[in-house]
């Protein structure tokens, strides 16, 4: 009895702590949403608040009216996320399957070839010059997809580890005896059995593509090619740039949307994540746990 009483207090205590922590995690996002539905003037006078005096859907109306900008950016983000994720899944699994076979000649060298990319990088300028002058990705959808994000060594190692630990090699032997080619094995056995890890890295690359703003920063200068994150970033950048060059342009004023509109666009940018997260939560969680398994 005494034990269980102690346990009860412990349960209450940790639940209180965890509720507080959970609130800390969620409330900032609520604040973002509340600022987006606060009337602009209230925002300026009373400041950001969870309980604004005056509500207004003006910011969202503005987004609807200027749908050409926001919706287009949205479409680009979605397209990039889909294509990029599919591409990285295909590349990572095609690369990981052979690496997971212990008898592949040159496996060590190839693994190191993959691993080394995690340790050393050539820096921004050389990659920029290469992607723009040789591959001409500038202002194309490929600028979001190709540089940096398509295939990460980390993903390859994750998938390889999963393949080699979770798929018994006897299955391959059996298939080979039945005369299956490696491509058939990959398609018919590896992909279906590797589904958990593929879902996981799919989610992570999807998230990476959705949240990326850096490629847009370097490779996109046409506003009709901006992704939603790049659009958010550009608004900050334009404001900062104008402040910095005040000497040269006495008459400059950027058409920067008002604060509540900026907040609304930011909220719209995270909305899909908030919507799908409850359903995909377990995959994220299991994926992170898989990630911790030694590569």
């Amino acid at each position: 009895m005494i034990m269980s009483k102690g346990r009860k207090t412990y349960q209450v205590a940790i639940n209180i702590v965890l509720v507080l922590v959970a609130l800390c995690m969620i409330l900032p996002l609520v604040l973002l949403f509340m600022s987006s539905i606060t009337e602009e003037n209230t925002l300026v006078v009373n400041g950001y608040s969870f309980f604004p005096e005056k509500f207004s859907l003006g910011a969202y109306q503005y987004i609807m009216q200027n749908s050409a900008t926001v919706f287009r950016a949205y479409g680009i983000t979605i397209l990039v996320t889909l294509v990029g994720t599919a591409g990285s899944l295909i590349l990572a699994s095609l690369m990981a399957f052979p690496l997971s076979l212990k008898d592949l000649p040159g496996r060590k060298v190839l693994s190191f070839y993959v691993f080394f990319t995690m340790l050393f990088s050539g820096g921004l300028v050389p990659s920029y010059i290469m992607w723009t002058t040789t591959f001409h990705v500038k202002n194309t959808i490929w600028a979001y997809i190709l540089p940096n994000f398509l295939l990460s060594a980390f993903n390859i190692i994750l998938v390889r580890t999963f393949f080699s630990t979770s798929i018994p090699s006897e299955i391959y032997e059996a298939a080979k005896i039945d005369g299956a080619s490696y491509m058939t094995i990959y398609w018919k056995i590896v992909l279906p059995l590797g589904k958990p890890i593929l879902v996981t890295i799919g989610l992570f690359s999807g998230l990476g593509y959705w949240n990326d703003w850096t490629n847009g920063l370097y490779y996109i200068n046409q506003s009709d090619m901006l992704s939603i994150q790049a659009l958010l970033n550009r608004m900050i950048q334009d404001i900062q740039a104008l402040a910095a060059h005040s000497t040269a342009n006495s008459g400059a004023l950027m058409m920067i949307p008002q604060v509540s509109i900026r907040m609304a666009i930011a909220f719209v940018a995270i909305l899909p994540i908030l919507l799908v997260y409850p359903f995909l939560q377990k995959y994220f969680a299991s994926g992170i746990m898989l990630g911790a398994v030694k590569g």
Partner: protein
């Protein structure tokens, strides 16, 4: 085992290096013919100046320019400019519009990569890096092609020379950046002050007290209102009170009426400005955010709770500010207007080294200084859709079109070659461009006008000084910290970062230049 890995790694890197050298070899070769055609065609320059060869394949100009935002009619404008240039110059034009933020984050890499580019805007603080990295074409070679543009610019074209190298041409606009206080007229009138009450000048700093009195009155009438907001104050107006000789480090004080290079941040003037800022800040006239705020005063005023902001002023400031803020404004001058080199060359138009035919680029550039249609197109958009000509020859929105739904509208005359040949926007006086010319002719002229400091020898120091300045000056000028305490620290940091070296170099070059002027 380890050795094996290292070896294979080395091999891989070598292989890559070998491949890459191969690539770049090709790249630089393709760059070379461009140069040789350039020199080749300079020889035959006479034919170019006599007329345009309409039989040859049209050359495509990549024209990068700054826009306020990209509107829905961007494509139409691009087509119209293309058509116009094809008709008049037998050239095609690829317009590359960029907002300021994009320009800042992409320009240096575009240049480093040698991306296709003919004409683009440049800021004076980058000239030394650009010259060192050979990003620019010396326009001095193309004086014949640029005849009209040089004529339009007159003596102001001299400010584009760094040594013997003509880096670019300035835009036609005001040639001075005097500081002014932009106030909301409705509130200003409420206070009972008259514009004539203000005679703010730097001969007697107590004249700034009047502005403090104005703020106090505003505060009394509207306790919740922010009296002064935005991104500037006197101490930030580094282009208004002295000739900055290209950078803020080592200047000619007193509107350039001296030839001794001094440190403005140590001067009594700057100290006084900081003290005024401190006083205003402590009295609650300034926005609490002001030292880090990045929203312009125009945006703040438009939002409705800001009485005034400080910025550079020019003849038609109040018309422009009314359009930008939505309020009628009163402009209180906060000093005299001075013309100096950096006022002209702070922002210029240059020809990029990546240009396949710099001579053609120069011809095109020349044309942009005289073509009325071109300047109207890039600034106001398509006539009939984005603007119409009013009876008195101004540009105005067509019926049913306004700032919220216009397809193309920049109002960035300051960034384009020659707004004086184009239409002025409705609301300006009809003779606005004459007013500008008169204004420019009547300015105080810095004794160093025409001198351009070549910062290449002190580029390292200047880069560091910029960082130090950015770290300290906002806090000081907006009074967030006590100048008595921080100013010394700031100046010590400046000297540690090499301020004396820069000042000595400036003085040396200036003395040399003065000697040449006789």
């Amino acid at each position: 085992m380890n050795c094996k890995k290292v070896c294979s790694l080395l091999l891989a890197v070598l292989l890559v290096a070998a491949m890459f050298t191969g690539c770049s070899g090709g790249g630089s070769e393709s760059g070379k013919p461009a140069n040789s055609t350039a020199t080749g065609s300079t020889a035959s320059g006479d034919t170019a100046s006599t007329g345009i060869n309409f039989d040859e394949e049209p050359y495509e100009i990549n024209y990068l320019y700054i826009v306020a935002q990209e509107g829905a009619n961007q494509q139409k404008v691009a087509e119209a400019v293309n058509e116009l240039a094809l008709k008049e110059l037998n050239m095609k034009v690829n317009l590359i519009p960029m907002t300021m933020g994009t320009y800042n984050s992409q320009m240096s890499m575009m240049l480093a990569a040698g991306e296709p580019l003919d004409i683009f805007p440049t800021f004076s603080q980058n000239f030394s890096t650009y010259l060192e990295s050979q990003y620019l074409v010396d326009l001095g070679q193309y004086k014949a092609e640029l005849k009209d543009a040089l004529e339009v610019l007159g003596e102001d074209a001299e400010t584009g020379y760094i040594g013997e190298f003509l880096v670019g041409l300035g835009q036609m606009k005001e040639r001075a950046y005097p500081a002014g206080l932009i106030c909301r007229k409705d509130i200003f009138d409420e206070t009972g002050f008259k514009l004539e009450d203000f005679d703010v000048n730097t001969d007697d700093y107590s004249s700034f007290d009047k502005v403090g009195e104005l703020f106090a009155k505003v505060k009394e009438l509207h306790p919740d209102m922010v009296c002064l907001d935005g991104t500037s104050i006197m101490g930030r107006q580094d282009g208004s009170y002295m000739d900055n000789l290209g950078s803020d480090f080592g200047v000619l004080e007193n509107y350039g009426q001296t030839t001794t290079v001094t440190n403005w941040f140590e001067s009594d003037q700057w100290k006084t400005f900081c003290e005024i800022g401190r006083d205003w800040f402590q009295k609650g006239y300034l926005s609490k955010d002001i030292a880090v705020n990045q929203d312009s005063g125009e945006i703040k005023m438009k939002a409705g709770n800001c009485f005034s902001f400080i910025t550079n002023v020019k003849p038609n400031t109040n018309v422009e500010k009314q359009a930008q803020t939505g309020y009628e404004t009163v402009v209180v001058p906060l000093g005299k207007a001075m013309k100096y080199s950096n006022a002209v060359n702070a922002f210029m138009l240059s020809v990029a080294n990546a240009s396949k035919d710099p001579q053609k680029a120069a011809i095109f550039m020349n044309w942009t200084y005289v073509s009325r249609e071109f300047n109207d197109l890039i600034n106001w958009g398509i006539e009939g859709e984005d603007w119409v000509e009013t009876e008195n020859g101004m540009a105005a929105y067509p019926e049913g079109v306004d700032a919220t739904n216009v397809g193309y509208h920049n109002d960035y005359g300051w960034a384009y070659p020659n707004q004086f040949v184009g239409h002025a926007w409705e609301g300006n006086p009809e003779d606005i461009w004459d007013q500008y010319r008169e204004y420019n002719a009547g300015l105080i002229k810095s004794k160093a006008f025409g001198f351009v400091f070549d910062s290449t020898p002190v580029a390292t120091e200047e880069a560091q000084l910029n960082t130090v300045r950015d770290q300290y000056w906002n806090d000081l000028v907006f009074g967030a910290v006590d100048p008595a305490e921080k100013m010394e620290e700031f100046n010590k940091a400046l000297y540690d970062a090499g301020l004396q070296t820069v000042m000595d170099e400036k003085q040396r070059q200036l003395d040399e230049w003065l000697a040449k002027q006789g």
